[in-house]
């Protein structure tokens, strides 16, 4: 079952760039990605799936670049989600290898993927709406400033996350009484 899901995600990742730019080189690259992903999906091996993710991303980027299509951020987010689910499905398949399991594991995973996808897409849609509204108000010359501020924000968030993780590792919280 989990193999089928992973294979389904891989097929979606093949189809996405072709939807943007239906060209032969794009199709060939997408199929190459699928060929690399296949041993990862069938052979319970994470690294071919990771390599395939890289190929799918490169193919998608090439398709966007070649086609010069209008910006569709939600499609990009959906592509990223599919990529995320492919990696997770292959990881779960590796964990299920040689083990007995019931349907609850995959069922729970599907529910979690659904929640994550909904949340991410909702955030993206809100962000796009906000950006569109702001774009109407702000002067185009402020764009570099906004980009710089966003980059600074992203870097700060990353630094904060790393510092927080380090802090937790160094000073673990004592266990609650009764656990």
């Amino acid at each position: 079952m989990i193999h089928l899901l992973a294979a389904g995600f891989a097929v979606l990742l093949v189809a996405a760039p072709l939807g943007v730019a239906p060209a032969l080189p794009i199709a060939v690259t997408a199929l190459a990605g699928l060929a690399v992903a296949a041993p990862g999906i069938t052979g319970f091996w994470r690294w071919p799936a990771t390599a395939a993710a890289g190929i799918f991303l490169a193919d998608y980027a090439a398709a966007l670049w070649v086609s010069a299509a209008p910006v569709r951020v939600v499609n990009g987010a959906a592509f990223g989600l599919t990529l995320c689910f492919l990696l997770d499905a292959v990881d779960l398949a590796c964990r299920l290898r040689g083990a007995t399991s019931d349907g609850s594991v995959i069922r729970t995973r599907l529910v979690q993927w659904g929640i994550f996808a909904t949340g991410t897409l909702l955030v993206v849609v809100l962000a796009v709406s906000l950006a569109t509204a702001l774009a109407a108000v702000l002067h185009p010359t402020t764009a570099p400033l906004l980009a710089a501020a966003a980059s600074l924000g992203a870097l700060s968030s990353l630094a904060w996350l790393v510092a927080r993780a380090q802090w937790h590792r160094q000073f673990p919280r004592p266990a609650r009484r009764g656990n």
């Binding site: 994470r46 690294w47 799936a49 990771t50 993710a53 890289g54 991303l57 490169a58 998608y60 980027a61 966007l64 670049w65 910006v71 569709r72 951020v73 939600v74 499609n75 990009g76 987010a77 592509f79 990223g80 989600l81 990529l83 995320c84 990696l87 997770d88 990881d91 779960l92 964990r95 299920l96 040689g98 083990a99 007995t100 399991s101 019931d102 609850s104 594991v105 069922r107 729970t108 995973r109 979690q112 994550f116 996808a117 991410t120 955030v123 993206v124 904060w160 996350l161 790393v162 927080r164 993780a165 937790h168 919280r173 656990n179």
Partner: protein, 424 residues
């Protein structure tokens, strides 16, 4: 619990790096958007998730089986908080065969208990610890795992298989204790020996009424005394040949267990000496408990390599009683063992050497070829010469060539000895 970053985090980080790089190179916002879910999943690493430990219970169906028998292992895991993915793995001892799965992956809600069982069969003897259950919990995004090992003592002893033996080498000397060997001397027993006239002090139940009626006066039946013997099984643990569970030591252990069972059934006192790099012994005794002691020692018997030749003088006399029948079980692969056996024979022990042929065992592990066949034949000839040498020293040598049955080997090898042996 040991916390680790899962391999999925590294895969996601790689994909995220590629996505951001491509987004910068192509200046397409879609690729930034594609990187967003990957970054969100990775960001979960910064949140400190609390994991309540799970309670693991393991039940093993039995702690003692014979070779080839099955043990069922039941594992129950109770989650104190919800766990998205929980991996549980029981122990598989080396050489054991698993029916079903020894690993299980489950999703548990808070307070829920997951149960499953699997069966293990053990083709070879040994002592195995099944007490460790490994647990791995995965967080919601799969970026982080927590690992732990629950240890519950669960030792399973796999005892050597027993082959029923109708005939075993008969001890040359016996004791006055009650046993199955009928003595020439008269005394307490059930085998009729002689008839004599009634004398004051004779018990009425010994009166032979038929003879008394015929002769007109009272006659009593005298009976032959029944005796038992001390038997010491001496196991060669200096060297072994072949692959588990069919090494010469495994076969020797099975032979020793079968012989011990047969002698104990005859009410003999049976002891065991493992002669090898490390010497172990079991003091001679009788009964069911003694079988357990011997079987346990045989289950643990293993080859410990040494250059030192152990002196049997170190063995206490109560372990190697005078006039005991010593049954030396050996593949004769190490020269120190025949020396020890000859030493025992020189000290007056009644010694029978049961040779477990390593030729057949080795042949079964090799690819059949002319060279293999020739080498095995030469080896067999060399071993024949070795047996003849031992026979010339006055020892009884029984050559057992598995897969031939032990019963057949003992019947063939012990024929001459049966004619010569007397029970005093």
């Amino acid at each position: 619990m040991t916390e680790r970053v899962a391999p999925l985090a590294l895969s996601t980080l790689t994909a995220l790096g590629i996505a951001v790089t491509l987004a910068v190179l192509t200046a397409r916002p879609e690729l930034f958007a594609a990187a967003l879910p990957l970054a969100a999943a990775l960001a979960s690493l910064a949140w400190r998730a609390r994991v309540a430990p799970v309670s693991v219970e393991q039940r093993v169906s039995t702690d003692r089986v014979f070779e080839g028998e099955r043990v069922t292992v039941e594992i129950a895991v109770e989650a104190r908080s919800g766990i998205p993915v929980l991996e549980i793995a029981g122990t598989i001892p080396a050489g054991a065969l698993v029916s079903g799965y020894q690993r299980r992956v489950v999703t548990l809600r808070a307070g829920e208990t997951g149960r499953w069982s699997y069966a293990l069969s053990f083709p070879g003897r040994g002592v195995h610890d099944l007490g460790t259950v490994r647990v791995r919990l995965r967080d919601r995004f799969g970026m982080r795992t927590w690992e732990d090992a629950a240890v519950h003592p669960a030792v399973v002893r796999v005892l050597p298989r027993i082959a029923p033996l109708a005939r075993v080498p008969r001890p040359a000397r016996a004791h006055a204790s009650v046993g199955d060997y009928v003595s020439a001397a008269l005394g307490e027993g059930i085998e009729p020996g002689d008839i004599r006239q009634f004398a004051p002090g004779d018990r009425v139940r010994h009166v032979n009424w038929r003879a008394s009626l015929r002769r007109g006066e009272l006659y009593v039946t005298e009976r032959r005394r029944e005796r038992n013997a001390d038997v010491v099984l001496m196991l060669d643990t200096l060297a072994q040949v072949g692959g588990a569970p069919h090494t010469t030591l495994d076969l020797s252990a099975r032979a020793a267990a079968s012989l011990a069972t047969a002698y104990l059934a005859r009410r003999d006192r049976v002891g065991l000496i493992s002669y090898g790099g490390v010497m172990h012994w079991v003091k001679p005794g009788s009964g069911r408990v003694q079988y357990e002691r011997i079987a346990d020692a045989l289950g643990r018997a293993t080859v410990v390599f040494t250059y030192v030749a152990k002196d049997l003088a170190l063995v206490p006399p109560r372990v190697l009683p005078p006039h005991a029948l010593v049954l030396a079980i050996t593949p004769l692969c190490d020269r120190r063992f025949p020396s020890a056996v000859l030493d025992l024979a020189a000290r007056g022990f009644d010694v029978v050497v049961l040779v477990v042929s390593p030729v057949a065992v080795t042949r079964s592990t090799l690819v059949a070829s002319v060279a293999t066949d020739l080498a095995c034949r030469l080896w067999a000839l060399e071993r024949e010469r070795q047996h003849d040498e031992l026979r010339r020293q006055g020892l009884t040598v029984v050559d057992w060539r598995p897969p031939e049955s032990l019963e057949a080997a003992l019947a063939r090898g012990g024929r001459r000895r049966l004619r010569l042996a007397t029970t005093g």
